[in-house]
């Protein structure tokens, strides 16, 4: 049987239309006639200009550094074009062992690099594997540039697997948690949609986008006629939306007049400039800043950083400015997870709430990551970082000498409180210092001692290890903290850290992650990817031998139901046998040590590991830790 694909998609469309019309015409052929494609004269076996080459031209115009993929036949055309026609550079092919790893690598990479990574996968089984990681990126407002292979023309599919790997609407499965998708029907269509997808993904609120690539479009030759019509469209990035000018002035009026204002930031600082702007606003007002950790918003050692005292500050506030908050309602309310669920406001009556978030511009309904409805007083449907310059200027215009004097007194009190919190955290960290399993504070501070004089970047999920890092380390650069997974889908940690480390590699930064044991076990093949591509990363395991969050949930149920409180470990712990993570890592080509149970062994192990990482390789230390 001939498998010659149509050369021009327009011809295919014409053929399809004719076929459709024929279906309503009187039968011309016998029902018993054998199924066979018409013979094709002058059947060519080779081409030196397949459609995938033009796709690579377009991807190069978008300045992709990498494309991550587990190889798949539905995108074999563009795969070959990337490595041969494109020279396997910009984008370079990153070999992954699982699509969840590909997407999570792209997720972590974006937050370190500031531009997206491309991902290729099967439109069927690949998308199914990728789905959770796509959801994480969506919830974390991170653009991932997804391309899924597919085979649309049923009459040209190879028998067997290619049918199982074909789908009518590949995007349907993930459309609820991506921003935009398209199914280009021609190469000119691909070019426009590829550039459009990039623009949409990178406009706040940023989210993943998906292009479905037909196999024929990738593999068919570009005819001279088609070639004459191909061009790469110009990309013009959309400027981020700023808050309405009247709303900005009203917000500034409230903030300047406030006695106890609080600035709360979650995914506020998209770029290094965001940190500078937030410092300027806080210092202008001498207002406390609570960093919820979605991004590296504010230096941890800045005296106005009052994150450890968030609850009390919110309770005493008369004005709260929320910048790109995931959960404004949860910021100003307390809820209790008991048999009867209750909640109550923690703010004073009359506290004014100001929200600036681009999420007000794009929200979907099916997946419920948008949290409870916050009753705010000013809602700016705008990007937080883009709105800060106008808000700072508006505040500065309103500050009088009297207010400046009051601000100075407030700033002095806050600086004293900051110093007090730091001392208290240091004192608390000493409890259990010599314990085995090793305390999370001890592990955090042994790690800090080993990296503090390097150009380091913590590429782990924020909040891990009882927040000891943000309480005791000095973060002041945008790449030193990347926030969390977004959707709390476990399995994000390792690949996101490796993706971020890939970004940091060319800058010579020492990437460091704190690796959960449960997270490690989802798709450990990503450590092979780190070894294969020589991605330097220091991974220190927080191995509490459990899915500990779930253990606590089951314990809560057991206590509530009063039928015994000693069996919550069933189904939630990862022991008997204990997993030998160092051996797994070694088997995947990664330098590894452990399990380490004596806290005094940790310092020397870190030194050995850092030597390896400085040579350009990943290194993992399995540390058996306290649960939290």
């Amino acid at each position: 049987m001939s498998e010659k694909r149509s050369v021009d998609r327009r011809d295919f469309l014409k053929t399809a239309a004719a076929t459709g019309a024929a279906a309503f015409a009187p039968a011309q052929t016998s029902a018993a006639a054998p199924q066979a494609d018409p013979p094709v004269a002058d059947e060519a076996e080779t081409t030196d200009r397949p459609g995938g080459d033009f796709m690579v031209d377009v991807l190069k115009s978008l300045d992709f550094e990498y494309v991550a993929a587990n190889p798949g036949s539905s995108f074999r055309g563009i795969h070959e074009s990337i490595i041969n026609y494109g020279g396997n550079a910009a984008p370079e092919f990153i070999t992954c062992c699982h699509e969840e790893s590909s997407v999570a690598m792209a997720h972590g990479y974006f937050k370190a690099e500031g531009k997206p990574m491309a991902v290729l996968c099967h439109g069927t089984v690949g998308m199914q594997h990728a789905a959770m990681a796509i959801y994480n990126a969506y919830c974390d407002r991170v653009p991932v540039y997804l391309m899924a292979g597919n085979s649309l023309d049923a009459t040209l599919r190879r028998p067997g697997v290619e049918w199982a790997h074909s789908v009518q609407d590949a995007a349907a499965m993930v459309r609820d948690f991506i921003k935009w998708d398209d199914l280009p029907f021609s190469l000119p269509h691909f070019a426009e949609s590829a550039v459009r997808a990039y623009k949409i993904a990178m406009t706040p609120p940023m989210m993943p986008v998906l292009l479905v690539l037909d196999g024929g479009l990738q593999e068919d030759p570009i005819t001279p006629e088609l070639g004459s019509r191909l061009r790469v469209p110009k990309l013009t990035r959309a400027s981020a939306p700023q808050g309405n000018s009247a709303a900005v002035v009203e917000a500034a009026r409230l903030l300047v007049a406030a006695q106890t204002p609080v600035i709360v930031a979650d995914r506020a600082a998209r770029t290094p400039a965001g940190i500078t702007l937030l410092i300027e606003l806080a210092e202008t007002l001498q207002a406390p800043v609570v960093n919820q950790g979605g991004r590296m918003n504010f230096p941890t050692r800045h005296p106005l950083n009052q994150s450890p005292n968030a609850r009390q500050l919110v309770a005493n506030a008369d004005v709260i400015l929320g910048l790109e908050l995931t959960d404004f309602w949860g910021t100003v309310n307390a809820s209790r997870d008991a048999l009867t669920r209750t909640s109550r406001p923690i703010t004073k009556p009359g506290t004014k709430l100001i929200s600036v978030t681009a999420l007000d511009l794009a929200m979907k309904g099916n997946y419920q990551d948008f949290q409870r409805y916050p009753e705010v007083d000013i809602a700016m449907a705008a990007d937080g970082e883009a709105t800060l310059p106008a808000l700072i200027e508006a505040c500065k215009r309103l500050v009088t000498a009297d207010r400046r004097s009051a601000f100075a007194a407030r700033g002095k009190r806050l600086a004293e409180a900051h110093a007090s919190w730091l001392e208290r955290a240091r004192a608390e960290a000493a409890y259990g210092w010599d314990a085995s399993p090793i305390s999370t504070a001890r592990m955090t501070m042994e790690l800090w001692g080993a990296i503090r004089n390097e150009d380091w970047a913590l590429v782990a999920e924020s909040g891990i290890m009882s927040d000891w890092t943000s309480r005791l380390w000095s973060f002041d650069k945008h790449y030193q903290s990347l926030g969390g997974s977004g959707g709390a889908g476990v399995g994000y940690g390792a690949p996101a850290a490796i993706g971020a480390a890939l970004s940091n590699k060319k800058r010579g930064r020492l990437s460091v992650t704190i690796q959960g044991d449960g997270d490690f076990l989802y798709a450990p093949g990503v450590w092979w990817t780190a070894a294969h591509h020589q991605i330097p990363l220091l991974a220190v395991m927080h191995n509490n031998r459990a899915y500990h969050q779930e253990l606590m949930h089951v314990q809560r149920m057991a206590n509530r139901h009063q039928r015994g409180v000693t069996r919550a470990h069933i189904g939630t712990t990862i022991d008997n046998p204990n997993v030998d993570f160092a051996t797994i890592a070694k088997g995947l080509g990664v330098h590894a040590q452990g399990p380490i149970t004596n806290p005094n062994d940790l310092g020397p192990a870190l030194k050995r590991a850092i030597d390896v990482v400085k040579r350009g390789e990943p290194s993992l230390i399995d540390v058996v830790t306290q649960p939290r």
């Binding site: 004192a427 210092w433 309480r471 253990l551 306290q626 649960p627």
Partner: protein, 116 residues
């Protein structure tokens, strides 16, 4: 100085002994038994195996806990996120053992270089 060291040793030995001297209002408890219970009934999950606490899950409990009456009251009917431990699942005697374990936790080391 020698006398002081001996006194410290005696105090430490007493803390490590099986029968803990009760704090004011606390029933006698066995710290070793309390250590086992602290793990088996799940206290460690939020407070750590050394009762050192976590900012994310539960506060430090030792080595100087609340007075036993307040401790017991909170365990039986907590106000915050802690799940309740009624006498049906943790007896008063078990609670006394747990309390003795918490009190037996060592004081933290002084002047740790990594914490300066």
């Amino acid at each position: 100085m020698t006398r002081l060291l001996i006194a410290v040793f005696v105090l430490s030995a007493a803390r490590a002994s099986q029968a803990q001297t009760p704090a004011t209002g606390a029933p006698a408890g066995n710290a070793d038994e309390g250590k086992k219970l602290f793990a088996s009934v799940g206290c460690y999950q939020c407070h750590g195996l050394e009762a050192q606490g976590s900012s994310a899950t539960g506060p430090r409990l030792g080595p100087r806990p609340l007075a036993f009456a307040a401790f017991s009251r909170y365990v039986r009917k907590p106000a915050g996120q802690m799940p309740p431990y009624t006498a049906k699942v943790v007896s008063d005697a078990d609670l006394a053992h747990i309390y003795a374990f918490i009190r037996s936790r060592p004081e933290p080391p002084k002047d740790v270089p990594l914490l300066r």
